[in-house]
Structure formats: C-alpha cells, structure tokens
C-alpha cells in the first residue's frame, strides 16, 4: 500500500477546501511544535489518529505513526547523547552517557516529530494532489508552473517504480540474482540500474512536457482553472478549532 495515495471519501475533512486542509495540517504541526509536555504530545498523536478515523483512514494513520516512529527513534538517539543538562542518569566508568535532561528532551523531540509530521502526511490521503495544486493556484495565486512540478513529481512516482521493476526483471532474465541478504551487495547490484532508469525517466518527462506544451501549458494563468474552490463555513470552523488547539497547547501544554 502506498502511504501517500488518495483515499476517496465523503467525510467532513474530505469536503474541506484543499487550502484549508493544508493550513490545518500546518496549524496542527505548529501546535505540536509549541507543545512542551510529553503527555500532551502523545495526546496530539492519539487525537490525530482519532481525527483520521472520522475520514475512514485510521489504519493508514496507525501505519504512518509506526513508520514515523523509526524517524523519531533516530531523533531520540541523537538528542539522548547530545543534550547534557540535568542529573546524570547513566554513568559508565565515570563517563556520563546521558542525563535526565537528555532523556526528557529526546523523548519530547521524537514525539514532536511524529505529531507534527502526521497531519501533513495524512493530508495526502484526503486530498487529490491536483485539487490541492489547483486550489493553491486559484486561491493563493501560486504560479501554475510550480504547482505543475509538484503534481507531476507525485504522478511519476508509480510510473518510475514500474519502469524500475521492468529494468530489474530484464536483469533477472539475464541471471542477475537480486535476492541477496547482504545490503552492500544489494546496493552494488541495484546501482547500475540507475543509468537506464535515468535515461528512460528523462525520455518520459520529455514526452510529458511536450504533451503539456501542446495543450497550451504556456497559456495557463491562475484564472484558467475550471473548478472553483470556494471557502465555506466548515473551513472557518476548522481554522477556528485549530487556532483554539494552538491556544490550549500554548497555555497548558508548554
């Protein structure tokens, strides 16, 4: 399962203006960043999973949390050994390995990373990339060129993945064995495939650009979009709720 794919739905959040969704994800991230309490941070993660459940993507939220957990773990380890304030907690032969301050800030930071990134990643589950970009162009007058780059990049991921598998299969047919447990050997086997992948990718991107140009890409302005993305009461409510969330975390969670 691709963790960034769009999941169609009809929920309250699905129906929000794409711009509001993006803003909401950012505001939630800000709440997570200003939050200075480990329990409140865990609360924000749980809240996000509950919110996801209302859009029918709870399973995705849990999977993403698990994946982000590994990123959090890296942050945890780094913080643990580099933050030195507070009482020594682990001492080996007179050398202070880490301190209470280190443990506390490591725990907080790793949870913060998860809580701040989760809403942004879940955004893609309830927003069509095209809608998001079109709305940004239409409402915020973002140059279409940039919006197009972003949508195209997302769209090409599965195409390149297929291409990569094709190249790999061609190599397998000639007797290359990719099923090795040795990671270095695996890298050594996969690295040469990058050249054909790059060549075919460039060709594909070229056709894509030509196809877009031949259908008037250059003539497009922010007014061109056919679909309107009006803001409604639900957008206002959402932003108000998130501002309140930030206020609450700032008052009690800091």
């Amino acid at each position: 399962m691709n963790l960034l794919n769009y999941v169609p739905g009809d929920s309250f959040l699905h129906k929000l203006n794409p711009v509001t969704k993006l803003l909401a994800a950012f505001l939630y991230g800000i709440a997570a960043i200003i939050c200075g309490n480990v329990f409140a941070e865990v609360g924000l993660i749980i809240l996000m999973i509950l919110i996801s459940a209302t859009c029918g993507i709870a399973k995705r939220a849990i999977l993403l949390t698990r994946n982000l957990f590994f990123l959090g773990l890296i942050m945890f380890v780094i913080q643990l050994f580099f933050v030195r304030d507070g009482e020594p907690l682990a001492v080996i032969g007179g050398f202070v390995l880490f301190t209470t301050g280190g443990l506390k800030s490591a725990l907080l930071l790793s949870l913060r990373v998860i809580a701040a990134m989760l809403p942004l990643m879940l955004l893609f589950a309830i927003t069509q990339m095209n809608d998001l970009c079109n709305a940004l162009v239409k409402r915020l007058h973002l140059p279409y060129r940039y919006a197009f780059i972003v949508t195209t990049a997302f769209r090409f991921v599965p195409i390149f993945a297929t291409e990569f598998h094709d190249i790999q299969d061609a190599q397998k047919a000639r007797g290359v064995d990719f099923d090795t447990k040795n990671i270095f050997r695996k890298i050594g086997l996969v690295a040469p495939l990058c050249v054909p992948l790059l060549v075919s990718s460039l060709k594909k991107v070229d056709v894509s650009a030509m196809s877009a140009e031949m259908r008037g890409f250059e003539l497009r302005g922010y007014k061109s979009g056919y679909k309107e993305y009006p803001f409604g009461v639900r957008d206002l409510v959402t932003v108000a709720v998130l501002v309140a969330l930030i206020a609450i975390t700032a008052l009690w969670g800091a």
Binding site: N130, I159, S208, S211, E213, M214, R215, F217, S224, Y226
Partner: protein, 279 residues
C-alpha cells in the same frame, strides 16, 4: 487540407535524414494510416504535422508543411494544437493529471474555453468515447485501452480538425485495438475529423483506413488506398511489411485468372470470394 512539400528533417546530431523529400496532400476528412519498419520516420512525420518539429525538437528542417494554409513551422505550436491534435506514443507519460476529468479539462482550461462550454465539451467527449463511467477514476488504475481513450478524449475536447495518433494500439490487446479504430472511424465519418494514424497492425489499417502510406528510410515507399496494395505486394515484401494473407491470396488468385473480382482486405471479404469461386 494538409499539404506537405519537400519535407526533410535531420535530428540535431543525427547522421542521416529522418525524413527526406516527402510530398503529399491529405484532404479534409481523410483517414490515413502510416506504417513502416522502425526508424522509417513515422513518428518524425507526425511531429512535423503538429509543428512539434521544428518548433519543439531542433534539427535541420527542409520544405514546408501547411494545414489549411497555415505554416506549422511558423505558427506557435501550442496554439496549433487546436487545429492538429497529437496523441503521443507513450500512453503514461503524455498524461498531465491523475484523474480522468482533470486530464480532459487541462487543455480546455489552458486555451480559455468559456466556462459553460467546458462542461458541455467534457460531457460530449466522454460520451463520444464511451467512457462516462471513468470520469472520476484515477488514470493510474485504468487499463491500456481505457488510458488510450482518455488520451484521445483529452485531445478531442479541443475540437481539432486533424487528429494525429502515434501507434495508439501499440500496447493494446486485439480487442481494444479494434475498438480504438472503430472510435476513430466514427469520429472521421460523423464529425469529419481528419485522422492520421501510425500503426503496425496492417490488418487493422486495411480494414479501416481510406489511404495508406508506407515510409521507408524517411521516404514514401507507397501511397494509395488499401486496395492499391495488391499491385505492390512485392514492394511491401521488400520492405519487410506483411501484407494481410487474405489480400495476398486474392491477389495471386486474380493473377492466376481464377478469380475476377476485387482484392480482398478483410477475412469476411475473403470468405465471400472463396464461396464465389467454389460455386
């Protein structure tokens, strides 16, 4: 009318000419099938018709291509798309959106088609191609045949006078290939759109097109109706292009004076011929 005069093209850094001294006139409402071995210049020729060559792909360009008197080398290619629509060979990479409806909207939005008109056109092309049910589907999850229809729909929405397709059935099964040809025939017959199609499946060409063009090393090796093929079977063999077996059969039966009718292009026609001979 499309008029091609002394068209020649050498790709930048290319050693030999991709196209060399092409002269042809294609009337409005024609249905032309182009075939030939790979590297014969088929794609290059289609690019020259839509102005991609020499405007988007650089190289040495000779001669002139005009569509209704408009020079494709001079008139901005991106605007020209409303006159000559190009469907590219690579189905996946020519898409610009992830949802079918957005793909069809793209060109319409860009060319500033009025709001009310856009809705009508989207509905119409979806209906014309029989893909109304795909409207909100993600393109990635569609079959090859469905994707191809979406690609054609997105060009058709711009209401071009000429539609140029580069091996649209290349990755399709026989059933879907035939379906694409049927759709194109309907468009050609009912809306008078000129169709120019590059195709390897010679059986399909014989059955559906009005004129056939065979390219070889950048030159026209054959141009005529599918029926004219009978007299040039040797030319086709020399070029490594298979003539439908039914055509070959009827041509030899005619030359052996066993049969006195027309050459057959389809299996149905051949069946009738055999029945007549046996009577």
């Amino acid at each position: 009318m499309i008029s091609v005069k002394n068209l020649g093209f050498v790709y930048q850094g290319g050693k030999s000419a991709a196209l060399d001294g092409i002269n042809i006139e294609i009337a409005d409402g024609d249905f032309v099938g182009i075939t030939g071995t790979s590297g014969a210049g088929k794609t290059t020729f289609t690019f020259a018709l839509s102005g991609i060559i020499p405007q988007k792909i650089k190289g040495d360009f000779y001669g002139a291509v005009t569509v209704d008197g408009v020079d494709t080398a001079v008139h901005p290619a991106e605007e020209f798309a409303r006159k000559v629509g190009q469907v590219f060979q690579d189905i996946d990479s020519q898409m610009v959106a992830s949802v079918v409806e957005d793909e069809i909207l793209f060109g319409l939005e860009n060319f500033g088609v009025p709001y009310e008109e856009i809705a009508k056109r989207v509905d119409r092309v979806l209906k014309d191609l029989g893909i109304e049910d795909l409207r909100d589907r993600e393109i990635e999850g569609l079959s090859g045949g469905q994707k191809q229809k979406v690609a054609i729909a997105s060009i058709l929405a711009l209401e071009p006078e000429v539609i140029v397709l580069d091996e649209p059935t290349g990755e399709l099964d026989p059933e879907s290939s035939r379906e694409i040809f049927k759709i194109l025939t309907d468009l050609n017959r009912e809306k008078g759109i000129t169709v120019i199609i590059v195709e390897q499946k010679i059986m399909l060409l014989c059955e559906y097109v009005k004129h056939m063009m065979v390219l070889d090393k950048g030159k026209i090796a054959f141009y005529g109706t599918p029926g004219d093929m009978a007299s040039s079977i040797d030319t086709f063999k020399d070029l490594g292009i298979n003539v439908p077996r039914v055509t070959e059969l009827s041509a030899s039966l005619i030359s052996e004076k066993i049969y006195d009718g027309e050459v057959t292009l389809t299996v149905d026609e051949a069946e009738k011929m055999v029945r007549r001979i046996l009577k």
